[in-house]
Every structure is written in C-alpha cells, then in structure tokens.
C-alpha cells in the first residue's frame, strides 16, 4: 500500500510541477512584464536596469526557477488591484469556494442516489425513463444558463431565495443547485448500473429467499454495496465542481476564488491569476489522488498492480 501511495504522490507532484510550468509560460505569452511594471515613457537605460534587477535578462528556465522558488515560499507577488499578497487573497477566498463545492456535491448526490436506485429497481419504469430524459437535458444545458434560469424563476418571479451574495443558508441554495446540476446525470448512471449489478447478486437473492423485506434489501444491503463506485468517484466530481465554480461564482456574486480570478483576468492582475489557477490545479490533483487512494483501499488488486 505504501509503495502505491508514494508512487501516486510522485505522479501528482510531477503534474503540479508541469501545471506550474504551463501557467508560467502562458503568462509570459502576454508580452514583456517590464512594460507593465514601468511607465510608458521609461528610458532605455531604466528598462535595462529594471530587467536586470528582476532577472528578466536571464534565460527563460532560470526565470522559471526564480518564480517557482518564490512561489514555493508562498510569494506570488502582490495583487495590483487588491494591494495585498496574491496568495493571501486566494487563501482568504478559498473557504467560500470549498463551501460552494461541498454543497453542490451534496445536492447532486441527494438527487442522484434516490433516482439511480429507483431507476434500477423499476428498470424501464417511468422513473427510469424520466430520469434518462433529464440526464440528456442536463448534459446539454450550460451551467451558467441553469444559474440564470434559477435566478429568473426562484429569485425574480417567485422571490423565494436571494439571487446573489453570501452569508445566510438561503444564499447557498441556488448556486449549489446550479453547480450540482451537471454531474447529476453521470452520478445517476453510476448508481443505477451498480444497483443493477448488486440486485442481481447471490447475497441479495439469498436475503430475498430468507424473507427479508424488499425495502430493507434495496435501501440498506444493496445500496451499501452499490454506493462504493460513487463514493470513489466523489473526488472526480469535487474536482469538476472547482472548474464549474469559476462560472457559478461569477453569476451569483459568490466571494470565492473563481470570481476573484475572473475579475483578476479583466484587470490584468497577473499574480492573482497565477496563484488562483495554480491553487485550483493543486486541489484538482489532490482530489484525483484521493480517488486513486480510495480505489486502492476498496480494491486490493489496484494497489498491488504495477
């Protein structure tokens, strides 16, 4: 198990290193960072001197080394707009994003599990068919449009819930639904097919033969086994939520990392963009690592494989 763990951790570290190189290189695409630091009428000698002070006359890989060394020490530079260290800004906004992702995940699981179980139990029945239609629709609706429709119906017309902001439990409802909407389809499919497998297995047949009530079989014995594939995939969905958060936070004015980075893009606040994207990537890699670990815990064949 330890060998499996360390190998996956190394692969994760390489991914993060690669991601940081991509982020660094793409940021340099925008042109000479000197021109952002200095006024337009700066003299040639001043440009040369500043370039030397910041190490911008060195080869690109040396520059990356300097940047990465600082980043490792937590120094991404100061946000031009918020006038504070970029990392502190991102860390301040991180809890709100995680809160949103957790509630989004809760929403999607709360829908996917009962619908998936009932679709499997009444295979081909109306729940199964309605569920499939909704899954097709869900996969074709952009997250931001779902968010706008939710605002239109529940905030503007019915006036039940606030359309934007953060603080009370009511504020999290609409953003969480918008974020959790898309993965419902895939999760329902996972639960449904796992349930179909389990309901067909010997131990379920034995319980039936012993006269165990059907409700107990389905919702306790079968679901406990069928939940494993979904549980191991939760990390993947959590990671997907982090991506979706960029859009959802923007629509609902949610004070998280996503909205902060989107705003930073428009104000060309590069330190914030770099820190935000790198942080999201790290969370992304970590959640995928958790998925691999939970697979390894559940299924010894995977952890022993090369």
């Amino acid at each position: 198990m330890w060998r499996f763990l360390t190998r996956r951790a190394w692969q994760g570290a390489i991914s993060i290193l690669g991601a940081s190189i991509i982020i660094f290189l793409i940021s340099r695409l925008s042109g000479d960072p000197i021109l952002i630091l200095l006024p337009n009428d700066a003299s040639q000698s001043l440009i040369e001197e500043t370039r030397r002070t910041y190490g911008l006359d060195r080869p690109l890989w040396v520059q990356y080394g300097i940047w990465a060394q600082k980043a490792l020490a937590g120094d991404f530079g100061r946000s031009y707009r918020w006038e504070m260290p970029a990392l502190r800004l991102i860390l301040e906004r991180l809890p709100a994003t995680i809160e949103l992702a957790v509630f989004g995940l809760l929403f999607s699981v709360a829908i996917a599990v009962p619908v998936g179980v009932l679709s499997a139990v009444h295979r081909g029945g109306w729940i199964d068919r309605v569920g499939r239609v909704f899954a097709m629709l869900g996969q074709a609706m952009p997250t931001f449009w779902v968010g706008l429709l939710l605002i239109l119906v529940f905030a503007i017309h019915l006036n039940w819930l606030p359309a934007f902001g953060h603080g009370t439990p009511a504020h999290v409802v609409l953003p969480a639904i918008a974020l959790g909407w898309y993965p419902v389809a895939a999760q329902t499919r996972i639960v449904r097919s796992a349930m179909l497998d389990v309901l067909d297995s010997d131990h379920v047949r034995l319980s039936r033969a012993l006269g165990t009530p059907e409700r107990l079989i389905v919702w306790k014995y079968a679901l406990r086994n069928a939940a494993v594939p979904l549980l191991t995939m939760l990390g993947v969905y959590f990671a997907a939520m982090l991506g979706g958060a960029f859009v959802v936070e923007t629509i609902f004015a949610w004070p998280g990392v996503g909205r902060t980075v989107v705003e930073a893009v428009f104000s060309r606040d590069f330190p914030v963009v770099q820190a935000g994207v790198l942080f999201t990537s790290i969370l992304f890699v970590l959640s995928n690592l958790l998925v691999d670990l939970s697979y390894g815990l559940v299924d010894p064949r995977i952890r022993d494989a090369r």
Partner: protein
C-alpha cells in the same frame, strides 16, 4: 406499422429529429443573412423589450421577442449559430488531428516516447480547462481564435488517450508485423494500415465533442473571455441579457434554448453513431 415506413430503406431508423436540428443550425450558419427576418445588429428602440407574440404586447414580426435595443432575438440566434459552427469545426479538426497523431505515436512506439507523452497528458489534465482558458485569455486577446486554441489545448489529451489504447491493441496484429518486415515505411504504416482502423473511433469522438465544444464556447463568451462585441454568439447574448433579466425573460430563455437544442441533438446523434460504428466506446 413503423412511422418511417415510407422512407427508403437506408434512411429508416436514423435519428431524424436531431439531424434536422443540426441541419437547421448548419443552414443558418451558412446562409444566415439571406433568411434572417431582420438585420441582427439593427437597433430599433421603438421595439425594445417587445415580448414574443403569444404574450400581451408581443408582435408577430418578432417571433422570439426583441432585446433591450430592439434587436430581433430570432435573427441574432441565427447569426450566432455561425460562431458555434466555426468554433466547433476548427476546434474539433485541430484537437482531433493533434490528439490522434500523438496517440498514434505514443501507442505505436511505446517505451520512453509513450512515457513522456503520457506524462504530458496527465499534466494537461491537472489544470482545470476553464482555469486554463482564463489564464490564456488573460495572456492573449480574447476572441474566436483564442477560444479555438483553448479548446484544442483542452481536448487533444482526450483523443490521444483513447487512440493510444486502440493503437496498442492494433500493433500486435500480424498484418502490421508483416508490413514492417516487408519494409513498409513508418509513415505509410500509419496512414495506410493504422489510420483506417481508428477512423470510426475518430468520427464518433468528434461527434460526441460537438456538444461539449458548443457549451465551452458559450461559457467562455458568457464570462467575457470568448467572442467579443459586435460579433454575435449565443453565450454573449446571454451575458447581455443578464443585465436586464428582470425585464425580459425571453432574452434569457431563447438563446439558452438554442444552445440546449443544438447540444442535445449533437449528443443524441453522437450516441446513435457510437452504437452503430464503435460500440466499445460505450463507457464514454
């Protein structure tokens, strides 16, 4: 009796509704100007916020209503289809070809080449695609080609991974070994012996990607990182309509419906094609 009994034999069982929707989108993209009821950028403040005809105050001239500047929403949706089609075409062409080539090289040569390319794929997949788009948009000018670049950078790994698996299975076949022994050059083996065998998979992957590309473009344009004014895109229309969401529900609903119908049709058609051409891809 089957409803499509009157059709010629080859046309029975085709998913006609999705095909018709996709054809309609294609026709709007190609011949937009000639069939649009209005000039999509024409301002007419007298028509501002005219609702669709079935609602009180609606006019039949504006079938789907008008926006805050009196522009006809139907015409703008028709004009916006062009961006969706162009982005989908180039993004799929480039990500498919680059991904397929990398997947073929990794699968065929194996060893260190494969190891390096697989690491690259893993690295690519460790940056969330929307975050990649944000940082690219911050670095480059936002616009149609930035959208295409972002989608290509996001999706090549998806193609490469699947094609690599197929090539690894094909590589062991006798006819490839014979070709190699007979001195057939590697490019010829790729083009004549490997490519035809992965062609079905590529077609299925490309069709399944259409819906995702359209959603991606709409999301980027909605965030202001994609298509810019005065060009028209469905995502950009929704981003505009958000400013006056309390005044005109139709301006929020209609472009979204266009996105949903197009993606739904592309997905249904892609599923059908997959079941026909390459049932092994069922997992996708």
């Amino acid at each position: 009796m089957r409803a499509d009994g009157w059709l010629p034999e080859w046309a029975r069982g085709l998913p006609w509704l999705p095909i018709l929707v996709l054809l309609a989108v294609g026709v709007c993209a190609l011949a937009g100007e000639t069939i649009m009821p209005f000039d999509p950028n024409e301002l007419d403040l007298g028509a501002a916020f005219v609702p669709p005809p079935w609602q009180e105050g609606g006019k039949t001239a504006y079938l789907l209503g008008a926006d805050n500047l009196g522009r006809d929403i139907l015409s703008r949706i028709m004009a916006g289809s062009r961006v969706s089609v162009i982005v989908a075409f180039y993004a799929i062409l480039f990500s498919g070809s680059i991904g397929a080539l990398i997947g073929m090289v990794a699968g065929y040569f194996g060893g260190p080449v494969d190891a390096v390319l697989m690491r690259l794929i893993e690295i690519q997949q460790s940056v969330p695609s929307i975050a990649l788009a944000l940082i690219l948009a911050a670095a480059l000018e936002p616009g149609l080609w930035t959208v295409v670049v972002v989608i290509v950078l996001t999706y090549w790994a998806w193609y490469a991974r699947i094609i690599r698996g197929e090539i690894m299975a094909l590589k062991g076949r006798d006819y490839i070994a014979f070709a190699r022994v007979a001195g057939v050059s590697t490019p010829v083996i790729f083009l004549r012996h490997l490519l035809p065998n992965i062609f079905n998979t590529l077609v299925v992957l490309a069709t399944l990607q259409v819906g995702q590309v359209i959603l991606f473009e709409a999301s980027l344009s909605f965030l202001g990182l994609g298509i810019q004014q005065p060009d028209i895109s469905w995502g950009l229309m929704l981003s505009d309509a958000r400013q006056y969401i309390t005044n005109a529900w139709w301006a929020i609903t209609m472009p979204g419906l266009a996105i949903m119908l197009t993606c739904l049709s592309a997905n249904v058609f892609g599923d059908w094609l997959r079941d026909r051409l390459d049932p092994q891809l069922r997992q996708l």
